[in-house]
């Protein structure tokens, strides 16, 4: 338990001023603008939007600047801002099949309609520091044939579904639960789980996904398809009576193909794990897809043996705003609490040191 304390206003004000000074750094170096962060750190912006649960690249960039690059603090700032805005409605579900792709890969099929589109990726880079970036310079990009077009890219997992090797995902028409309005209850539905994972911490989901690969709830994943691109968002306002496009957002989608289930050999089918995140966020989407699948253990009558399969454990600890808040509260004054602990330990030690002496006297 912590207690309220008074005083320290001047120290607190000065601490904030010092933080602002630290954020600004050496004033002989030009100040970073929010637009520079937005344009030149798009992957940091994507992470803050995903876990901050608000798609707004400019505000995410502002949060990153304000937080001096501490992405978790930036996520917290965006979450806090989010609570100040009214919600006008819920979108029609995104049609990611129609996304304008900037990247699309499959690790399950080499040749597929539409092909493999690498897009801007860190894959295949040697992870050697590029000292050329120490100097400023133009980045012209590749030679582009302006006539080049992309062929249609159907969903890779549909090929497996067409063959009956995997269940098709169909809309069951059920109401969509919202964990930001009604608290999570257990067992949770898959829709609740996916919402929690979508705003969950990338590092936590990555580690849990990794743990399943290492044997703590193995589910034998393949990256069936990863798609990154822009997708239209449609909203149907009540006053209009028809849906309208609001614009496009960038999303990353990952579909994992996982180990078989089925009553018999003839009925055996692959299973699915799904990940979706705002922005260019491949690692996040992959971690989410792995954990989505591991949390379906009960659905497939699998033995729950790893942390990644324990729904309550995963969902109650994946939110980094909650986690950081509870860990940070340890910094609040616990003086009274600690005094009682201190008295207790002193008393224990005193008793222990007096007892042997008394026993000696008796002897």
């Amino acid at each position: 338990m912590y207690v309220a304390v008074k005083g320290g206003e001047r120290a607190i004000d000065n601490a904030h001023l010092l933080l602002a000074k630290k954020r600004r750094g050496d004033t002989s170096i030009p100040e970073l603008s929010v637009e520079q962060v937005r344009e030149q750190m798009p992957l940091a912006v994507a992470r803050v939007m995903s876990e901050g649960s608000l798609y707004d690249p400019q505000l995410a960039a502002l949060a990153i600047k304000q937080a001096a690059g501490d992405l978790m603090e930036a996520i917290f700032l965006l979450r806090a801002y989010r609570t100040t805005l009214p919600r006008f409605g819920a979108s029609a579900a995104l049609d990611t099949t129609q996304m304008q792709l900037t990247r699309r890969i499959s690790a399950t099929f080499k040749d597929l309609p539409g092909g493999q589109l690498l897009g801007p990726t860190f894959d295949y880079s040697h992870r050697l520091l590029d000292f050329a970036l120490l100097a400023e310079g133009e980045q012209p990009g590749p030679q582009v044939d302006p006539q080049a077009e992309l062929s249609p890219c159907p969903r890779v997992l549909d090929f497996l579904a067409d063959e009956g090797l995997m269940a098709r995902e169909v809309d069951d028409g059920a109401a969509v639960p919202d964990i930001t309005r009604e608290p999570l209850d257990f067992p949770a539905s898959r829709a609740q789980r996916l919402q929690a994972l979508a705003r969950g911490d990338e590092g936590f989901l990555l580690a849990l996904g990794y743990s399943t690969q290492r044997g703590y709830g193995r589910n034998h994943p393949f990256a069936g398809e990863i798609r990154i691109g822009e997708v239209e968002v449609w909203l149907e306002p009540e006053e209009l009576g028809f849906a309208v496009p609001l614009g496009d957002i960038e999303v990353t989608e990952c579909e994992m193909v996982n180990q078989f289930v089925g009553e018999s050999a003839e009925q055996a089918q692959f299973t699915r794990g799904y990940g979706l995140a705002f922005g260019y966020a491949e690692r996040k989407a992959m971690g989410m897809a792995l954990v989505d699948r591991s949390l379906r253990a009960a659905e497939y009558n699998e033995e729950v043996e790893g942390p990644a399969q324990q729904e309550e454990f995963v969902l109650m600890h994946c939110d980094n705003v909650e986690a950081a808040g509870f860990v940070s509260h340890l910094k609040l004054p616990h003086y009274v609490d600690f005094q009682s602990e201190l008295e207790l330990i002193r008393k224990l030690r005193k008793q222990a040191s007096e007892q042997p002496a008394a026993e000696e006297q008796r002897a």
Partner: protein, 158 residues
């Protein structure tokens, strides 16, 4: 594949409403591009029925891309309703927090529902749509440079 082709399932069966959905989409994507048309759009008297207001839209995805919906997160958006002197109303719902954009988009929507629709279509919507389409084509061409053919190599003997 093509962003300019809206989600066909959401397009209204009434062609007039479908045309309005299309221009509202073009206006929503126009961003600061509408500023160039500000004086033309504001040549008439109009009233703000709902002043530009910033809020959020809850974005939904689908499990496996095609299954039941779930909540992905929110996005910022701005909406606005205007009424022209002749009583026509215009609506806008645009991604982001640009109030000026929302007001001009609502004005354009009102103009586009009047007798001067062909004028506004050819002067405003078609040029904006062309720019948006060109950006999309350029982006696709860039992505196409990274299309690969992977060859699997035979490992070991035979």
């Amino acid at each position: 594949m093509n962003r300019a082709t809206p989600q066909s399932k959401l397009l209204h069966s009434d062609p007039q409403i479908a045309a309005r959905q299309r221009w509202m989409g073009v206006l929503a994507r126009a961003g600061t591009g509408l500023a160039a048309y500000e004086s033309a759009l504001k040549e008439v008297d109009y009233q703000l029925i709902r002043a530009p207001e910033i809020g959020m839209c809850l974005v939904r995805g689908r499990m496996g891309g095609t299954g039941s919906p779930f909540n992905l997160g929110e996005m910022s958006m701005t909406r606005c309703v205007v009424r022209l002197a002749d009583g026509r109303t215009g609506y806008s719902y645009v991604a982001g927090r640009d109030k000026q954009h929302a007001e001009l988009a609502a004005l354009a929507d009102a103009h586009l529902q009047g007798s001067e629709q062909p004028h506004w279509l050819s002067r405003l919507i078609e040029p904006l749509a062309a720019v948006q389409h060109a950006q999309q084509v350029a982006k696709a061409a860039e992505t196409a440079t990274t299309q690969v053919e992977f060859f699997t190599l035979v490992r070991g003997e035979d």
